[in-house]
């Protein structure tokens, strides 16, 4: 669907998608930290698709379970109990990623 949207010819949308990708590239902050920022932002704003994306990216960048739950705890305290269904989603995605890692399967988006 992203390809469909980008092919529609709206320059503003195309550029926004480019900005979105670049925001998580290595800079003064490393990619792992930026993906954790993206995960917490997505969780407090309660966007399941965004959460799934950033969980996979966090796993790819070597975030440990302990780091993962500490980041989710910040989101939970800041955003309150309405984030709980989204934290469940994040942990479910994490568990699927960890299972693939144990089976030496690739973790893809």
């Amino acid at each position: 669907m992203n390809e469909r949207i980008l092919s529609a010819g709206n320059l503003g949308i195309k550029r926004f998608f480019a900005l979105d990708s670049r925001a998580y590239e290595k800079g003064a902050l490393d990619v792992k930290t930026k993906e954790l920022l993206g995960l917490v932002a997505s969780t407090v704003l309660r966007c399941n698709d965004c959460i799934t994306y950033h969980v996979v990216r966090c796993v790819q960048k070597g975030v440990s379970d302990e780091e993962f739950f500490e980041a989710l705890n910040v989101a939970l305290v800041v955003g309150g109990s309405i984030t709980i269904p989204h934290i469940r989603r994040a942990v479910d995605t994490l568990d699927q990623c960890r299972k693939k890692q144990q089976e030496d399967k690739p973790i893809k988006l």
Copy 2:
């Protein structure tokens, strides 16, 4: 006002305030990373008081200007142009903190 609220005798609120403080303490993630998470969460949720708090804490923990703007850029992309007034607030607080640092004055909350 926090003292007034904590003195009101509601145990749930008292415990919530304790959880809030502990969420940013050192664990698997260091305090600097957690404060950046708090800053981005506060910015996308557009809470000025929370932003001011986390900017000061970030400065105290040695966040550089470049790291600071990269974190704000993640918040801006995730949360959109409605976060701009809050990003202005964050940068204004940063500038005040940097000025105090140059004058060797303490940066307090």
Copy 3:
């Protein structure tokens, strides 16, 4: 400003304002319960003007301090730490109302 808006001749807005007032009138639920619902809804949505309004109405309807803090605790748990600045506002308004009550002064909106 409400009078200015109502005088502008937009029927939809005028009717919305009427619906808004009626939502808190006595029905199967009493006014006190409805004002507590309004207070919690306003707090999790972080609308300071709405919070001030519903705190004053709660006090007028005899809500005790204990009931008041229990309702705010629900809002805090559901909405998270970003509601804290608004809970401060609510408690500050409560304190002003209580002071007026002690001085036998009317509590007006």
Copy 4:
């Protein structure tokens, strides 16, 4: 389900539903413009059911693809990357409507 809700006898809810319908009727602004306003409001507030409704209405009122993507671009810039899953939904609904138009089938809500 709307009929079930309206039959429940709560006058406030019934009147709100009436206000909701009337807000998009022709006035000083035409229906097409109002439906675009509804589409952008629904997108930044991330309500998929509302988005689907307003996309169908926009198509019925002759909104072109170019106009459609420009309105979505405003929503994307204002609301940020968390609106992207909802923009995907909007474009998917648009594509379904266009397909029905090509097959000369009615576009219904």
Copy 5:
């Protein structure tokens, strides 16, 4: 999934879940009122899982249909038409609970 999350060993998250449960226990306000507060807060914040939970709890605590719709009307006026899909969800859950009550079946979470 809650058990999975609680078993992950993050003390902050564990304590938050405990605070969440306790917020709805009997205090100066009775459980029924607190569940109505939870229902309205969940509806204006548009969290379907939370809505389902609080509807079931409201039914268990004897909330009548009339009280139920009055609380939803407050949520609708405060939160606007974007809450309508969630109000549909709430009424659907209510209808399922009422059907179970008529068949003398237990209403479980």
Copy 6:
């Protein structure tokens, strides 16, 4: 403050600000319609600075009072009573702009 932010050297933020400006330029939709879209999006998301900006731009582009209130009515119905303080702000800014127009003074941002 915008100049301060743009001078900080973060390319992502700089590009975002450019996208933000371009989103309201004439395309398939005219500037007036786009500014109304921006006004309604800002009102339902409750961003006062954004509202002030778009009200001034709407006046500059010849939006009539009737059109203005119809757009605000869409925002009010979609976003609910929590938008009322922001609708007050919008109308107050409108009145200031109209006064300047009567006095033949320029309406500036």
